[in-house]
Amino acid sequence: MQSIGDALGLAFALVFSGDPDLLEIVLLSLRVSLTATALACLIGFPIGALVAIGRFPGRNAVLVFMNALMGLPPVVVGLMVYLHLSRSGPLGFLGLLYTPTAMIIAQIILIAPIVAALSRQVLEDLHSEYAEQFRSLCLTRLQTVQALLWDARYSLLTVGLAGFGRAVAEVGAVIIVGGNIDHLTRVMTTAIALETSKGDLALALALGIILLVIALGVNAAVQSVRMTATRQAYV
C-alpha cells in the first residue's frame, strides 16, 4: 500500500531535484490561473459594483442568477468552451483549442461569476455604509463605483484569491480544452489526474502537496502585500 508518507518524501525529493518538467508544469499552472484570475477580476469587479449600487427591476433575479453561476460545474464549462473552440465550432478558425489560451478562457468563465457575486456582496455592504455620504457629495455612478472599488480593495483581494483558488484547483475544464498535452498544456491538476490514471498514487499525491504549497505561497504573497499596504496607510 502506498502511503501518504511516501508521497511527502516524494514531494520533497521532486522539489529539491529541481526537475525542469515539474517547473514547467508549475509555471504554466501559475500563468494560466493568475492570468484568468486577473481578467476575471477585470470583468467581475465592475459587474459586482454596478449590481451592488444599482436599483433596477429584476435585480433580485440577477442576484440569484449570479450566485447560482458560482456553482458552474467545470466539466460543463470545459465542454461549452470545447464546442465553441473546436475546429468545427463557431470560433474554430482561431485555432485556440489545446492551447493555454483556451484554458485561460475556460477558467475566466468559471471564476468571473464567483468574483462578481462575492464582490457584489462586499461592495453592497460598504455602499450601505457610505450611501448618504456619496449622495451629499453628488457623486456620479462612475465615481461611486471607483470610490467603492478603491475603498474595498483589500476585501476584493480576498475575493480575487477565492477565484484563484477555484481556478488553480479545477481539472474538469482545463483537461477538456487543454488536452493535457506534455510541454504545452499540462498543468498541476491534469498532471495529478494523469499520474492517478497511471496508478502512481504516490506521485499524484506528491504533486497535490506541491500544488497546495503553491496555493499557500500565492495567498501568503497577497497577504503580505495587504499588510504592508495597510501599515503604510497609517504611517
Binding site: R31, S86, T99, P100, T101, G179, T196, S197, K198, G199
Partner: protein, 272 residues
C-alpha cells in the same frame, strides 16, 4: 495609465501563448494506453529529432478520440477499435488507415479469485464463470476501444451483463487507469490491455487471471485526418508522422520499447 498597461500586458500574454503552438506541430488524438504506458515519451523524441515536427498528444478514450478527430481537432488518429476506425475512413473523415502494432487484452483479478478463473485461456468461458458466480466486474463503460472489445466478448459468451449493471457489473465510465483503480479498490475483475497493466503502478494483490485467447487480440491503427473535411490539418507533418511510424525505423523503435523487461507493443505495419 498603469491600468491600461496591465490590460495590454495581460492580453499580450494571452495572445503569445496562442502563437507558440502554431509552427510545425500536429495534434495526435490518441487512445490512453499508448500514452499512459510511456510509449510516446519514448517514441516522440526520436521522431521530433528526425523531422523537426512537434507532436502534441491528446490522450482520451478511443471513442472520444474519434469524435474529436471528426470535429477536426486533430491531424492524426491513433486508436484501437478497427471497425470504428474503418467507419471513420469510410465516412470520409480519414484518408487512409494502416495497421500499426498489436498487443493483447488480459483480465486481471484479485489474489482471492472469487470466480475461480485463474489460468483460464478461454475468455468466453471465463466471462460466463464470472457472470455465474456474480463476482464483481468493473467495465470501462465509456465507448473506448477496450470497452467495445469487452462488449463484443460478452456478446460472444452469450451473457448480457447490462442486466446486472450496478449489481456485480460496474460501469465506471472512465479511462483505463481510473477503472483499474476503482476495480482494484472494490475487488472486481477488470479487462485491460497488457501495456497499461504492465506499466500500471497500483497493482496491489492483482494478477493477470485470463490471457492467451486469440479473441483478446488488440490491434492499433493509425489514420490521417482528411484535409478535404478538415482544412486545418497539417497534411505534410501528419503524413510524415504516419509514414515514420510504419517505416522500418519507426517499427523497430516501437519494438524496442520495454517496461520491466517486457515488450509492450508488437509492430505489424504492412511492409511495402
Amino acid at each position: 495609465m498603469r491600468f491600461k498597461q496591465l490590460i495590454a500586458s495581460l492580453l499580450a500574454l494571452t495572445v503569445a501563448s496562442a502563437a507558440s503552438a502554431q509552427d510545425t506541430s500536429i495534434i495526435v488524438q490518441s487512445t490512453t494506453s499508448t500514452a499512459n504506458s510511456g510509449l510516446y515519451d519514448y517514441l516522440l523524441p526520436m521522431f521530433q529529432d528526425a523531422s523537426g515536427v512537434q507532436v502534441n498528444v491528446v490522450a482520451v478514450g478511443t471513442g472520444q478520440a474519434i469524435r474529436n478527430a471528426q470535429n477536426c481537432d486533430g491531424d492524426v488518429l491513433l486508436v484501437h477499435a478497427k471497425p470504428a476506425e474503418e467507419k471513420f475512413v469510410a465516412e470520409g473523415y480519414g484518408t487512409v488507415r494502416t495497421d500499426l502494432m498489436y498487443n493483447d487484452f488480459v483480465i486481471v483479478g484479485p489474489e482471492a479469485d472469487p470466480a475461480g478463473v485463474a489460468g483460464m485461456t478461454d475468455v468466453q468461458a471465463a466471462l460466463s464463470k464470472i457472470a455465474e458466480s456474480e463476482a464483481l466486474f468493473a467495465s470501462r463503460g465509456d465507448d473506448s476501444g477496450t470497452h467495445k472489445k469487452e462488449l463484443s466478448l460478452w456478446a460472444s459468451s452469450g451473457v448480457d451483463p447490462s442486466a446486472a449493471s450496478g449489481a456485480w457489473y460496474r460501469e465506471t465510465g472512465s479511462g483505463m487507469g481510473a477503472t483499474l483503480n476503482a476495480g482494484i479498490g472494490m475487488g472486481a475483475y477488470v479487462m485491460t490491455d497488457r501495456a497499461t497493466w504492465i506499466s500500471f503502478a497500483n497493482k496491489q494483490d492483482y494478477q493477470i487471471r485470463v490471457e492467451g485467447d486469440d479473441d483478446m487480440f488488440n490491434q492499433y491503427g493509425v489514420i490521417q485526418v482528411n484535409p478535404d473535411k478538415c482544412p486545418s490539418v497539417n497534411v505534410e507533418a501528419a503524413q510524415a508522422f504516419a509514414d515514420w511510424l510504419v517505416s522500418a525505423e519507426g517499427q523497430s523503435a516501437i519494438a524496442g520499447y520495454k517496461v520491466a523487461d517486457q515488450q509492450l507493443f508488437f509492430p505489424n505495419a504492412p511492409t511495402n
